[in-house]
């Protein structure tokens, strides 16, 4: 395990695990409280500093639109938070879905960090939530989803807004797993140029084009200091940046994560992989997400709609990409599938 000489030697990066939030998507929200505690305890023991724990769609996520988890968010959070030795529990909050009431409840249950997420052009829907998170004293991130749909200058301007509301960290979020290293670098660099020196930059990748690790390294090269990933890649689409792989690359490059590599390799193999309902990997449909620039969470919804209405999932995903549907519009998957089925003579119009 020799270190190669690298320009990033000595850089410190904070890892944030997404298995118990983004991974909920890959499990159709069916992870039990006991499983969450088991995974989180193992991650805590391996030195992961931040662990996100909620419904896949975050606070307020329990819904017909996004599915119902096995327990309320507060129950997951308090069960996990009470067992943590060093890790902080974080949550996801998407304004329009989650509210400040739910953030207060999450805080009361033990959450101390939050990703406040908006679409990459709609940062101005987050001021009250970011300000409230700061008031609670939480580590607060502005999380710009589907970042490939805004250019570097646009991302910089949106990030600056979130910083002005009080965010400590601004994330470039590749929700579709569409970005390439050059795309990531351009956006992170543009943020670095306009943000205050003390404001951190993060990157959240999806592995739909197999670029999760490379994109995360590119982000660090351009000035990012926080990286989201999930052990064994348990996440939406082809999963998040596989955290144990990323940690190994960091170790080779001399990037300091403070994580015990062998321990998280064991968590991946012994705990996470056996939990998977399907092996999270780049398959035909998740590759389509990355190639067409579609929100990763749409994967399983599209497969279900395909089964029901007889229109191939890939066709549905491509059409959703063409119509520029964004995160949260899961209802439009069934709607689009039904419209396509009618055009193909597979479904009758009601009225």
């Amino acid at each position: 395990m020799s270190q190669t000489s690298s320009s990033l030697k000595g850089r410190k990066v904070i890892l944030h695990d997404m298995c118990l939030r983004d991974g909920m998507h890959a499990k159709r929200e069916q992870i039990s409280v006991e499983q969450m505690v088991k995974v989180a305890t193992a991650l805590d023991d391996a030195g992961i500093p931040y662990i996100q724990v909620t419904h896949g769609a975050g606070l307020g996520g329990n819904s017909l639109q996004h599915g119902f988890a096995m327990a309320p968010n507060e129950e997951y959070i308090s069960a996990v938070a009470s067992k943590m030795k060093q890790a902080k529990v974080s949550v996801l909050l998407i304004p329009g879905l989650g509210t400040m009431k739910e953030l207060q409840a999450a805080y009361d249950a033990g959450a101390r960090s939050v990703h406040v997420a908006t679409h990459c052009t709609e940062a101005d829907t987050s001021p009250q939530h970011i300000a409230f998170a700061r008031k609670l004293g939480m580590d607060t991130t502005g999380f710009l989803m589907m970042s490939h749909l805004n250019d570097a200058a646009g991302i910089a301007q949106q990030g600056k807004l979130m910083e002005s509301y009080g965010a400590h960290t601004i994330y470039v979020t590749d929700s579709a797993g569409y970005m390439l290293p050059e795309d990531v670098k351009a956006r992170v660099a543009a943020l670095r140029e306009v943000l205050k020196p003390e404001t951190e930059i993060g990157f959240h990748g999806h592995h739909n084009l197999g670029m999760g690790v490379a994109n995360s390294i590119a982000a660090i090269e351009a000035g990012a200091s926080r990286i989201d990933g999930s052990v064994a890649g348990l996440g939406a689409g082809a999963g998040n940046t596989p955290l144990e792989v990323f940690a190994a690359v960091c170790e080779r490059m001399g990037i300091e994560t403070g994580v015990d590599l062998f321990k998280i390799m064991d968590v991946a193999e012994d705990v996470i992989v056996p939990m998977m309902d399907h092996i999270v990997r780049v398959d035909r449909e998740s590759l389509t997400l990355g190639f067409a620039g579609v929100y990763s969470t749409f994967l399983l919804h599209s497969k279900r709609a395909a089964e029901r209405f007889g229109v191939p999932a890939r066709d549905i995903l491509v059409e959703l990409g063409r119509k520029k549907m964004i995160g949260g519009q899961e209802d439009m998957i069934q709607d689009t599938a039904m419209t396509m089925a009618k055009e193909r003579g597979l479904l009758k119009q009601v009225a």
């Binding site: 819904s63 017909l64 639109q65 304004p95 329009g96 879905l97 509210t99 400040m100 009431k101 679409h119 052009t121 709609e122 101005d124 829907t125 001021p127 009250q128 939530h129 749909l149 119509k323 520029k324 549907m325 964004i326 995160g327 949260g328 519009q329 209802d331 439009m332 069934q334 709607d335 039904m338 419209t339 009601v350 009225a351």
Partner: protein, 304 residues
């Protein structure tokens, strides 16, 4: 024919669109527009369209209420100032139609409960939210056939149609709409989700309604009830259209709608704006018709 004279408070997107809707009404006449910025585009446009304007807020209107016979006022400002506006105008016998999320008066969705409010001579009615106006008729169409344990609505809005007030206060939008799904829609529990989509060209407003019925849903009767209700809404919002459904999965009923606007002030994609202003106009018309027919008489509200 005599018309009931109206004042519009707030000179933003909603206030401006209301001028067009009210001008078209056979029973309403827009007379005053109230703003707070003398340079605002909305006030300039109102003057061009023949309205009297003031940039001194509601206080600038009060001295003219009696002489100009204002009987109905539309408030399209914000939840924070609505209560004061309403108190001041109610004292002068002006009925308030509230387009903010303040919701101090009863909630109104015209095809569901407008008649009831007119009969009670309410002096302040609240129009909930655009998503509420678009989806609650369908929730009610299901709940009037069978008990609805839970209803959830998803509204997708074009980014260009969502003003700064809504953006900065999304939680109020969520709370007000969720509450109205129960109170007016008739569901026992309700939840509202809102997505702002920046696609170009802008997407037309979309709404999805899910209802969970207590028992196995009666497909024929529920479908018929929903189609009838859509027809009722189309009377005042012609661009209100069923795209897909109703579709049934066990006890879940799903309906997928589109709302195109008339393109009065903002383009047609902004159905969210239109359904609010059209519902508010429809509400005012019902009161106006009753006043003109001599069936009701607005009275000044005494403040305690």
């Amino acid at each position: 024919m005599k018309k009931i004279k109206c004042a519009l408070i707030g000179s933003g997107n909603i206030g401006t669109d209301l001028i067009y809707k009210i001008k078209r009404s056979p029973v309403l006449e827009p007379v005053w527009m109230v703003g707070i910025d003398p340079e605002s585009e909305g006030l300039a446009r109102a003057r061009e369209m023949g309205l009297k304007t003031t940039a001194d807020g509601v206080d600038g209107l009060l001295p003219h209420v009696e002489a100009d016979e204002i009987q109905i006022a539309f408030d399209a400002t914000s939840a924070y100032v609505h209560a004061e506006n309403s108190r001041k105008l109610n004292e002068l016998g002006v009925m308030m139609i509230d387009l903010t999320p303040a919701a101090i008066g009863p909630l109104c969705v015209p095809p569901v409960n407008l008649r009831q409010h007119a009969d009670k001579l309410e002096m302040n009615v609240n129009m909930i939210s655009c998503a509420g106006q678009a989806t609650i008729p369908v929730v009610h169409a299901v709940s009037r056939i069978q008990g609805v344990e839970y209803a959830e609505i998803v509204a997708s809005l074009a980014s260009k149609s969502v003003g700064p007030g809504t953006r900065a206060n999304l939680d109020e939008f969520t709370y007000t709409t969720s509450n109205a799904i129960c109170k007016v829609g008739g569901a026992r529990r309700g939840k509202a989700l809102c997505i702002i989509n920046p696609a170009e060209p802008p997407m037309i407003m979309r709404n999805t309604i899910y209802c969970l019925t207590d028992d196995e849903p009666d497909h024929v009767r529920i479908t018929e009830s929903i189609l009838q209700m859509i027809g009722e809404v189309q009377k005042y919002v012609p661009g209100y259209r069923l795209v897909n459904g109703p579709i049934y999965d066990g006890n879940k009923v799903s309906v997928f709608l589109e709302v195109a606007g008339l393109g009065d002030y903002l383009p047609k994609y902004a159905g969210n704006l239109d359904i609010m202003t059209a519902a508010a106009t429809r509400t005012a018309e019902m009161f106006a018709e009753e006043i003109l027919a001599g069936k009701i008489q607005l009275k000044a509200v005494e403040t305690v």
